[in-house]
């Protein structure tokens, strides 16, 4: 058994090791950069491609959004968000549960509503009139 595994290692040439190491580097790089999510600050609600509304996550509130099939209820609960009711058939959006990190997203395709959390890095801290 060990001999057979060693036979496979003999197939790998020096250039292959180079490619394998490059590939591992890419894996480490991508996981580090793409899975490093800070806590979210704001919630953006999209209908198709347009931003319908932006809310702060630091509140406890239920929003009702009209999608293309019907009403979707979105719960915001002090830093986390979920879909609590939706008119779609499979309810994937509800089963996804709570999200709380920046760039996390829940999409409801039948109703064409999606929400995503935005991190603290914004252009402006606040806007006053």
């Amino acid at each position: 058994m060990i001999k057979k595994i060693l036979q496979f290692f003999k197939l790998i040439k020096s250039g292959d090791w180079f490619i394998i190491i490059l590939f591992c580097g890419l894996i480490i790089f991508s996981t580090k950069f793409l899975w490093n999510l800070p806590q979210g600050e704001y919630l953006e609600i999209y209908k198709r491609n347009e931003i319908l509304a932006t809310y702060s996550l630091n509140q406890k509130i239920t929003k009702i959004i009209n999608g293309s099939k019907g009403e979707t209820k979105i719960n915001i609960d002090n830093g986390k968000v979920r879909f609590s009711s939706a008119p779609c058939a499979k309810k994937y959006c509800i089963h996804q549960g709570w999200i709380n990190k920046a760039n996390q997203t829940i999409i409801c395709i039948p109703n064409q509503i999606s929400i995503s959390i935005v991190g603290a890095k914004r252009k402006y801290d606040s806007i006053n009139y």
Binding site: S14, D16, I20, F23, C24
Partner: protein, 171 residues
């Protein structure tokens, strides 16, 4: 009336046979359940790698494209997003193989080519997904999963192909 004749040479027969095997493998793969949705081993690519190394790159391109089109027609996904995903993956990996075809075979074996092609496959699919199917930056969150699976299955497919080539050269 003149008869138009098509000269069928041995090469065409080879392409047909290899494409048939590749189509059968991708049909088997379609019906196998996958633990992570969207991640597939791509066992049909074993045949394409085998074709490229046993014969030449031109024949590999033929087999790969025939596989994509025939599988699309058989599964009823022809011209649907699924079909374009598999087409762009196939085209990108073929392009990468064309670009890297001059790598010295003294230092680089099938494993390198398979890994490069599998990464290009993921890149091609991701470009289609990002710009057409799900135009949202959130999908980049899934990219590491696909890169890791490309690495694993690229390696496994290459090892299986080199074993196949060894068995075939002994006969």
């Amino acid at each position: 009336m003149t008869l138009s004749t098509i000269n069928i040479i041995n090469r065409d027969h080879q392409i047909a046979k290899l494409s048939a095997i590749a189509v059968a493998l991708s049909l088997i793969e379609f019906f196998l359940p996958s633990p992570i949705p969207g991640v597939k081993p791509g066992i049909a690519n074993i045949i394409i790698l085998y074709t490229i190394f046993k014969f030449d790159l031109r024949m590999g391109i033929w087999v790969s494209l025939i596989r994509v089109f025939v599988t699309g027609i058989l599964l009823g996904t022809f011209l649907s997003p699924t079909f374009f995903l598999s087409l762009s993956g196939a085209l990108f990996s073929l392009f990468s193989l064309i670009i890297f075809r001059n790598l010295n075979s003294k230092y680089f074996s099938i494993i390198s080519f398979s890994l490069i092609a599998s990464l290009a496959h993921i890149a091609g699919q991701f470009i289609i997904v990002r710009f057409w199917i799900i135009p949202h930056n959130g999908i980049f969150y899934l990219l590491p999963i696909f890169i890791i699976s490309a690495f694993i299955f690229g390696l496994v497919n290459a090892l299986v192909t080199s074993k196949l080539l060894q068995l075939n050269s002994k006969k």
